[in-house]
Symmetry: C2
Subunit: 135 residues, 2 copies
DNA sequence: TTAAAACCCTACTTCTTTGGTAGGGTAATC
DNA sequence: GATTACCCTACCAAAGAAGTAGGGTTTTAA
């Protein structure tokens, strides 16, 4: 399951997508409208900024805005930044790979199954973008 | 990510599948061979028994064995019993559904995306069975 | 029939992650 | 130069994951 933090991230991004190229939004405004704890949201937006998805402007008239075109940011990217691995096992993760103990990947049925699941997930999550958050 | 507990479950099931219709296996034997903490494994096998996947025999010569034909038990079932929901959001889970706060499912892009992911996952996890654990 | 084998059950502990709070620091702009 | 608004560090509580302890109960085979 995606963490609550990640769900907050998507809710915030939804607002930012709608406001794309129309100036920055205040953290406080997003927090209020989307009912996200202010300081928690601050932290989330900061992470997304460090990853290059968002940009921010300080001072009066500042705030956060989307740096990239919504249709250029896959949903998978957001999940990886905020939540971490997408795969169901460490040994099949592309970005967070870890060898499993006591499991020879060459002869592990579970491994093979989870590779398939991962690819099926990514087929969607890499294709769908922030633009798809708006219906 | 699947919990360690679930990974233990699959490793144990692997042994039980290989021994299908050849008598019961001791918890202690499985624990030793698969390097799973004994008491922890005990708990896992008990859950699988309560779900009807395994059966057990007490007393001397007893142990655990697979109750159902391996090819009749989808991997998804094991995950749900031991780990819980498969879906990435509570509001798209088939077996553990929960409404999300502040999200109108009719007009939620994320919801739609995650429905797609869930279906893609299940297409595999409901088709693959315990028999596929053996390669 | 009885003792040992082997599962059954409850409770507890420890560690990590998640979700959230507090409070001040720093940069930009009016 | 004061105000606005983001930036950063540290901390805290609750929940879940992982594992431990220890005794209870049923079965079966000698």
């Amino acid at each position: 399951m995606l963490s609550k933090k990640t769900q907050y991230a998507f809710r915030a991004l939804e607002m930012l997508v709608k406001n794309y190229e129309q100036g920055p939004l205040l953290i406080s405004e997003i927090a209020r409208k989307k009912k996200i704890p202010l300081k928690f949201l601050e932290n989330i937006l900061l992470e997304l900024k460090k990853d290059g998805v968002l940009e921010s402007k300080k001072g009066k008239g500042g705030g956060y805005s989307l740096l990239l075109k919504p249709s250029k940011v896959p949903v998978a990217r957001i999940i990886r930044v905020v939540d971490g691995p997408i795969a169901m096992l460490p040994c099949v993760s592309l970005y967070f790979y870890q060898k499993c103990d006591n499991c020879n990947e060459k002869h592990c049925g579970l491994h093979d199954i989870m590779i398939g699941v991962r690819d099926a997930q990514l087929a969607i999550l890499e294709k769908k973008t922030l633009a798809d958050l708006i219906v």
